[in-house]
Symmetry: C2
Subunit: 340 residues, 2 copies
């Protein structure tokens, strides 16, 4: 099973459909800038994991890929909307190997471009009326409302920790946040949406508990890549430390380092982004390795993925045998093995 | 016709319905902050003109107020979402008599609170399924998509002028921008939505051309209040000048002042907000008075409102005679006479 070529093929389906939902990059002046910004993150590529999961879930449940295309595109646009705004909120520098949108255009433009992208999400979902009928279109729409609520709440929770300099964060807190911000959004919702597109709404709640584990494993791998890098990784290494993020690695580190180290880490982590030096960030990263936090996060992601696989086999036992189901299975390993 | 008490009564209907669509202000930590932010601009009041127009249009077309309540609340939440983000984009200081949300909580929180408010807009619109049925709910939803597209485009156009230091703006450019950003959004869309809620979708395009004039008159009055103030005006006087806004007053001023004055005005207007002194802003304001720009804007708003009234009488000739229709008529004058 060459999972990368499956992802690539699904990504192409998104690329092929995007021009149906975004305005052509033509015109001049403000209109051209506006349209370029709507396209930018889409043109940078990305894994397109969410649309792939949605389309594959639809196909595994005896649906056709076409039935899931508008929903898959909406998921990708939603992701780009969140990224544009999250990058501002976190003062990030890079996204998919290039400067973040607000670094290219300034914060005011980027906020508005994010909003405009979010509007396109809801507009794209309307294409489901033609593809799946009004009732399904509305059901999918309500799924989007639920997942957007969870995601803005998860984002708030994470920002609150940084702002309030909260360090009494437990692993449970982390799992709650990662579940809200990433687990549901990245895995559970796309799988549910795919089943709805295939006309199997009754199944959707079957994916929740193990899908969450899969999604949290995805988030931990994100944290790991940010700490140790990857061949094609498109963000700055140590960015999470610059941004003061409470990752699983950091929570483990704080519980396993010496009192003196903890004091030093806290001092670094509580500084605003601009005040952190490269040497300080490197120091925290090396402590993460020394104290086994990297190893621990790897192990935890692996365990979660294993548990997710068991849930997957059970929930998808009645699904169509074939490429889609096999791809989904392979994607569980992929999320913890990927280097982007 | 006591139009202020009509607005107050409609405002109360919004207040009564808001708790159905926003989470209770309870809990602690991040969750409480999150909920407080969702409520904040709602609790500051505001004119609530858009929900009032929507409910009144519904009633004038033989509908009941209840039929329009979810849509009216969604319009108000949408307005609050736009205000939260616009205030960041324009670096505004005050909103409805208090510091802007991002001045209270910082930009990252406020971006996310705006996004969360926007999600609540789409969530609230789903209540139309129960009140009006799926088909109407979807029609209203598509109206919201269209108006949000227009509004984000209008915002982009206006920001582009500031960013690119564009000063070859004509009155037509201003009317296009104000039509997109305010005209359609503030007047046309609420009237259309009210008719849809009443089951009279066939009428909706009748309101477009004169509703646009009414909406632009509203925007000009906004520009005027910002320049000369009002008894209960909740924003800083001259804020538009600090923010570099191309208002009708400023466009008139640039066309009617001396060459030397124009050079001075340009120098002031092109400075970033923090670099403008109170004396400079006062200087531009006094030139607006001296060169007749204030008077010109007043006259233009008045003319637009008169034209809107003619259109209104024609489009609403078949509407139910009574309080709702009379209130709508009175609101045309209100938008150019209001001091908030």
């Amino acid at each position: 099973m060459d999972i990368l070529s499956v992802l690539q093929q699904k990504s192409k389906a998104v690329d092929a459909a995007l021009p149906l939902f975004l305005p052509k990059r033509e015109g001049s002046g403000w209109l051209r800038d506006y349209r370029d910004m709507l396209w930018d993150y889409n043109l940078r590529g990305g894994k397109r994991l969410r649309p792939a999961l949605c389309m594959l879930s639809c196909e595994a449940w005896w649906g056709k890929q076409e039935q899931a295309v508008p929903t898959a595109v909406a998921l990708e646009l939603l992701q780009n909307f969140f990224l544009i705004h999250d990058d501002i909120e976190d003062e990030s520098e890079q996204r998919r190997g290039k400067p973040c949108l607000h670094r290219l255009w300034g914060v005011p433009y980027a906020i508005n471009a994010g909003d405009a992208t979010f509007v396109k999400v809801w507009e794209t979902l309307m294409a489901n009326r033609g593809v799946l009928g009004d009732e399904k279109a509305l059901e999918i729409y309500e799924e989007f409302v639920a997942l957007c609520n969870k995601t803005t709440e998860g984002q708030m929770r994470e920002m609150y920790w940084v702002r309030e300099k909260k360090w009494d964060i437990t692993e449970k807190d982390y799992f709650d946040m990662a579940g809200e911000k990433a687990g549901y959004y990245t895995v559970v919702a796309p799988l549910r949406l795919g089943a709805i597109c295939a006309g199997r709404s009754g199944l959707k709640s079957n994916f929740d508990s193990w899908g969450m584990k899969w999604g949290i494993a995805f988030q931990i791998q994100d944290d790991l890549l940010n700490a140790v890098g990857g061949k094609k990784y498109g963000k700055e290494i140590g960015g999470d430390i610059y941004e003061g993020k409470r990752t699983l690695l950091l929570i483990h580190l704080m519980e396993h380092c010496s009192y003196k180290e903890k004091k030093e880490i806290l001092k670094i982590m509580n500084k605003p982004r601009q005040k952190k030096t490269a040497a300080e960030v490197k120091k925290v990263l090396s402590l993460m390795k020394k104290c086994g936090s990297v190893e621990y996060a790897r192990r935890t992601a692996k365990e979660l993925a294993e548990e997710a696989k068991i849930g997957f086999e059970k929930s998808f036992s009645d699904a169509r045998q074939g490429a889609a189901k096999e791809s989904l299975r392979a994607l569980i390993d992929y999320v913890i093995e990927r280097d982007v």
